[in-house]
Symmetry: C2
Subunit: 94 residues, 2 copies
């Protein structure tokens, strides 16, 4: 089973209150040196068999039409999940 | 300015209603061949200057303590955002 990752982030000019809340909490918890946080979405699409170019094209189209709101969000990446990521996702944290 | 990406996904055994809703909508919109969808979170942390190992260690710790709920979520990746991704995030969709 292959998997495709679609990353969606708010456009840079769109306010991100969730990210700001995280950025505000980090110094209170002792994390210094992180100046900004933006929060987005990550989709993992499972496909039958190996990931083909057709699957990727379909994922790209789904990303633009269903997985993101093009008014406020950008699809920043659509790529096949490599094996190291699959094992990380299934087991130990990175 | 460097940036670090933290990817957080629900653990495989945790029900993901958002992902299921997307998976249910895909065939109705004509996307076939995608058998499952899981939705997670993607954080982009901006740091001052270049991304160092210290920044990554801090991001990893923040990922485990603030950005994810370890009861239901896994931190699947913590890595520096490379330049190609930065330009993609700033401009054209991938």
């Amino acid at each position: 089973m292959g998997a495709i990752v679609v990353d969606v982030m708010l456009k840079p000019e769109i306010l991100d209150p969730q990210g700001q809340a995280v950025a505000g909490a980090l110094p209170r918890l002792g994390f210094e040196g992180i100046t900004d946080v933006r929060q987005g979405k990550r989709f993992v699409l499972t496909v039958e068999g190996e990931v083909t170019d057709a699957h990727l094209a379909q994922a790209r189209q789904a990303a633009e039409t269903l997985l993101s709101n093009p008014v406020i969000e950008d699809v920043v990446a659509v790529h096949a999940l490599d094996d190291s990521e699959v094992s990380a996702a299934a087991g130990a944290p990175a």
